[in-house]
Every structure is written in structure tokens, then in C-alpha cells.
């Protein structure tokens, strides 16, 4: 069939089935919106992970004179032990990105500034605070390399990774994103069922046209093509609306949060990265549903 004829037939059909086409577009919009929210939430978790993991450190606490940790029974860390730990850390570059030594006095001062509203620090002396090496890793997931190297080493009281502190937050965020994806799945199912119902109705309403097409020898593909293209147009319009809403949410909603909170947020660049996948998935599903429905309900 010639393109101009197909387009004019589609235009007439879309006008005739305007309410059904709008409903397909709107349900597709909501489906793609949820799908987009789920995917963007996943990206947000990854972005935050990159941001925070870049800042979290592994702390190697050294023994103090009064430490009751099992590895500290020999007393406070000695100068040679400290030098040995430091040189061992320096030898572990590039995994070890930066090393910040913290003295007992610095540890005490930090505790003091963090607990200024509490009186706890008044009962603690700087001598009770452990001296430490704060280690920043180029790959925070390789925390276990540091642990295996320093746990039980002479002069080391304990090795702590800050990463697990953040994991519950990430788990909640990831759970929310999976929730959004689950809802998206339900909406996609609704969308597929609506497309199938719409096509059944449209095919029934146009049975005379399709009957004539069949009798004059139009191929199955030519008979099915206008239905598939109509569905595709409604789906692409719905997807475009969803992308528009997502853009507004990322640009203005998340953009506003980004100015107020010291957290790295996703940007519209992330949206443009996932847009082809979202639209492609919606279009692919619409074509597949339309094709399967036509195979079942349209005689060709």
C-alpha cells in the first residue's frame, strides 16, 4: 500500500475512534510514567551510592593504653607499629586513594563537636579516644582487602567500614524503585489488555473494509498494518506525554531538591538516557499485543 493512502486511512480511523485512541494514549502514559519512575529511582540509588561510597571511609582504629579489644592486650600502639601500618597502606595504592591519620586529640575534638549538645564527652579524656587511620578507597566495594590486611595486625584494635551504615537507606530506596516497577508491570498489563480490546473493537467496526481488502487480495501484512500503526501512534503519543511529565519532575522537582540537599541527584541527562528504552519498550509491547490480537481476531 502506498504511504499516503495508509496515512489518510489512519487519520480517518483515528478521528473515528478518537475516544479509544485517547484512552490508549493515556493508559500508556501512566504505564510509561511508572516504568520511568522505577528506572529513574534505580538510577538515583546508583548515583547516590557512587556519591556516598566515594566519601565513606574505612577506619583502622589503633590500640590505646586502656583498650580492652582482644588485639590490644599488649598495650598502646607503638611508633614502629604505626609506621608499619602507614607504610603498608601506602603500598596498597591505587586501591588506597587517600589516608587521613587522626590523632587521639583530633578524635576527641571531633567527638566534642559532634556531641556538643550532650554531656557525654565531658566524661571522656583524649587518652581514651583511639587514634586511627581514615582510609579512602578507590573502589569502596573492596573493603575486605583492607580488613584482611589489618584485622589482627600488631597495634590495630579494630577495622570498621562505614559503608554498611548507608546500606539500609539504599535498600529502602531500591525497595521503593522495585515497588514502582511492580506498579509499572501492572499498568503495562492494563495497557496491553486495553490495546487488545481496542483492536478487537476497531477490527469489528472495520470488518467490511478488512473483508473487502481480503477479497481483493491484500496481503495479511497490508490488512494488519493500519491497525498496528494506529496503536503505535497512540502509544508513542502516550509515551511522549509520560516523558514530558518525567522531564518536569526531574527538571523542577529533583532540581529543586538538588539545590536544598547536599546529595547528588539524577538529572535530565539520566532521563534522556533511559527515554529510548522506555519508548522502545512501550512501542514494542504495543506492536506485539496488536499483532497477537489481530492474528486472533482479524480474519486475513
Amino acid at each position: 500500500m502506498r504511504l499516503q493512502f495508509i496515512l489518510s486511512e489512519i487519520w480517518v480511523a483515528l478521528r473515528r475512534n478518537l475516544s479509544m485512541s485517547i484512552s490508549v494514549a493515556l493508559v500508556t502514559m501512566v504505564s510509561v510514567l511508572f516504568l520511568g519512575l522505577g528506572v529513574l529511582a534505580q538510577r538515583q540509588v546508583d548515583t547516590m551510592k557512587d556519591y556516598w561510597y566515594d566519601r565513606v571511609q574505612v577506619s583502622i582504629f589503633l590500640c590505646t593504653a586502656k583498650s580492652d579489644l582482644p588485639n590490644c592486650i599488649t598495650g598502646a600502639v607503638t611508633d614502629s607499629q604505626r609506621t608499619q601500618i602507614r607504610s603498608q597502606l601506602d603500598a596498597m595504592k591505587p586501591l588506597v586513594k587517600n589516608v587521613f591519620p587522626e590523632s587521639q586529640q583530633q578524635a576527641y575534638d571531633r567527638l566534642k563537636s559532634q556531641s556538643k549538645d550532650s554531656l557525654t564527652y565531658r566524661e571522656i579524656t583524649p587518652a581514651q579516644m583511639p587514634e586511627s587511620f581514615r582510609v579512602q578507597l578507590s573502589d569502596p566495594t573492596k573493603y575486605d582487602v583492607i580488613t584482611s590486611a589489618f584485622v589482627g595486625a600488631p597495634g590495630v584494635g579494630d577495622v570498621q567500614d562505614q559503608r554498611p551504615i548507608l546500606d539500609p537507606l539504599f535498600n529502602v530506596l531500591r525497595g521503593l524503585s522495585f515497588g514502582a516497577l511492580g506498579l509499572a508491570g501492572l499498568m503495562v498489563l492494563c495497557s496491553a489488555l486495553l490495546v487488545a480490546t481496542t483492536i478487537r473493537q476497531t477490527a469489528f467496526g472495520r470488518r467490511r473494509e478488512t473483508g473487502i481488502m481480503r477479497l481483493v487480495g491484500a496481503s495479511a501484512f497490508n490488512i494488519q498494518l493500519p491497525f498496528i500503526l494506529e496503536t503505535l501512534i497512540a502509544t508513542v503519543v502516550g509515551s511522549a506525554l509520560a516523558i514530558g511529565v518525567l522531564w518536569a519532575m526531574v527538571r523542577y522537582g529533583i532540581g529543586y531538591l538538588g539545590k536544598k540537599l547536599p546529595i547528588n541527584f539524577i538529572t535530565t541527562a539520566d532521563l534522556w538516557t533511559v527515554t529510548p528504552w522506555l519508548v522502545g519498550a512501550a512501542a514494542g509491547l504495543a506492536i506485539l499485543t496488536a499483532w497477537l490480537t489481530l492474528r486472533r481476531y482479524l480474519r486475513v
Binding site: R2, G217, S219, N222, I223
Partner: protein, 229 residues
């Protein structure tokens, strides 16, 4: 052009065959009336030719193709060689006369130039020149059937099937329609027309194939409806 070799067709959920061991040969350019009472198998015979149904047993050959061996993807090519006219006209109500006829060419991907040339020529041949922009509801029954014939013939198929084309028309108009089919037949097109309009059959004196309860009971050259000369 069309050959039935011991063809039987039994529909699902029916114990009696709609066609029972039919053998029949129709040559290129023939005009054949298929007569018989309602339910005698006339429409089934046409549907088998059109590959709308498949035979339960036996072979149907149309335009050199054995239909039982024809893959589904090749059925459209067969149908392009067959025009169809029905009792209920089956025109598209939202398209005018020109568009209804052009539709048959447009869905086959014919160019606009060829459509602009062929459609008026065909409309003139069926006697509808000057009525191109009329919608079907603005036409009489006879005119609507002429549009349907124009649509069936616009692609110049070698075979034209007509299933009770005069069933909804009065005798005078019916005769005009059959005269039009006769004119098309004179261009070399094979016509197979199912009817139980005895006046038309008797007047035209073409080959008559009579079916009764799915069996071929008469095949008569220059025949009449009831079988007497």
C-alpha cells in the same frame, strides 16, 4: 480455468456435506449460472473457489493452482485474480463511488496515476459516469450493485464470482445487472454466478450447473432454470 475433482465439503458441526463429490470444469471465458435452492451448496462452491473454505476431500484447481497445496501466504495472489460481487453489495458507506472502486486498487498499492486512469474508465463501463462523487446511500440498489461490480472488475481479474447479485433487485434492474456481467464476460472474463432467479437464467441461455443438497444434478450448455428446453 476452474476445476473441481470429486470435491466434498462438510462443515464442522454438520453431519451432511454441503458439497458431495462434485466434479466440474469451467473453461476460460465461460459464463456459468450455478442454480439450486437455498442450502443446495451454491455459496459453498463459490467460497471454495475463493479459498475462503478448504475442501474436505478432492481437489479444487483455480487459475492453475491446486488450492489444497496453496500456502496461506499465496492466497492473496490468487484472490487478485478473482473479483467478487455479493447480494448485499458490501460498499463502504463513508466513501463515494470513486473511492469505493479506487479502494480495491489502493490496498494493492497501485499508483495514483493508474487509479485516476482506470477507475473512471471502469465506472463508465458499468454505466456510472458522472456519479463518481455520490455516496452509496445516494444511489439506487441497481447503481450500488454496479459500483460493486466496478470494484470487482477494476483490477481486470480473469475470474468474476457473483453470489446472488440480483437477490436484492427488481426484475428489470436484475436483467440490466446480468447484461452488464455478460458484457464483462465478452472481454474474456470467466463469470460464475450463483442465482435462483429463473427469469434471468432463462433469458440469457448460458451454461447452467444445478446443485441439489450438495450434489451436482445437472450441467447443461445453453440451459434454462428448470431444466426443460
Amino acid at each position: 480455468m476452474i476445476r473441481f475433482e470429486n470435491v466434498t465439503k462438510t462443515y464442522q458441526r454438520s453431519s451432511e456435506p454441503a458439497l458431495d463429490g462434485i466434479s466440474l470444469e469451467i473453461e476460460r471465458g465461460e459464463f456459468v449460472f450455478v442454480v439450486g435452492q437455498s442450502g443446495s451448496g451454491k455459496s459453498t462452491l463459490l467460497r471454495l473457489i475463493l479459498c475462503e473454505e478448504s475442501a474436505t476431500s478432492g481437489n479444487v484447481l483455480v487459475a492453475g493452482r491446486e488450492l489444497s497445496q496453496l500456502p496461506r501466504r499465496k492466497v492473496p495472489a490468487l484472490r487478485r485474480e478473482i473479483g467478487c460481487v455479493f447480494q448485499d453489495f458490501r460498499l463502504l458507506p463513508n466513501k463515494d463511488v470513486f473511492q469505493n472502486v479506487a479502494f480495491a486498487l489502493q490496498v494493492l498499492g497501485k499508483s495514483r496515476q493508474s487509479i485516476k486512469a482506470v477507475v473512471p474508465e471502469t465506472l463508465e463501463m458499468v454505466g456510472l459516469a458522472g456519479k463518481e462523487r455520490r455516496l452509496p446511500h445516494q444511489l439506487s440498489g441497481g447503481e450500488q450493485q454496479r459500483v460493486a461490480i466496478a470494484r470487482a472488475f477494476v483490477n481486470k481479474p480473469p475470474i468474476l464470482l457473483a453470489d446472488e447479485p440480483t437477490g436484492n433487485l427488481d426484475p428489470t434492474i436484475s436483467l440490466e445487472i446480468v447484461r452488464l456481467l455478460d458484457r464483462i464476460n465478452r472481454t474474456g472474463t470467466t463469470i460464475v454466478m450463483a442465482t435462483h432467479d429463473n427469469g434471468i437464467v432463462d433469458q440469457l441461455r448460458k451454461r447452467v450447473v444445478e446443485l441439489d443438497d450438495g450434489a451436482l444434478v445437472r450441467d447443461q450448455m445453453r440451459g434454462v432454470y428448470g431444466g426443460q428446453l
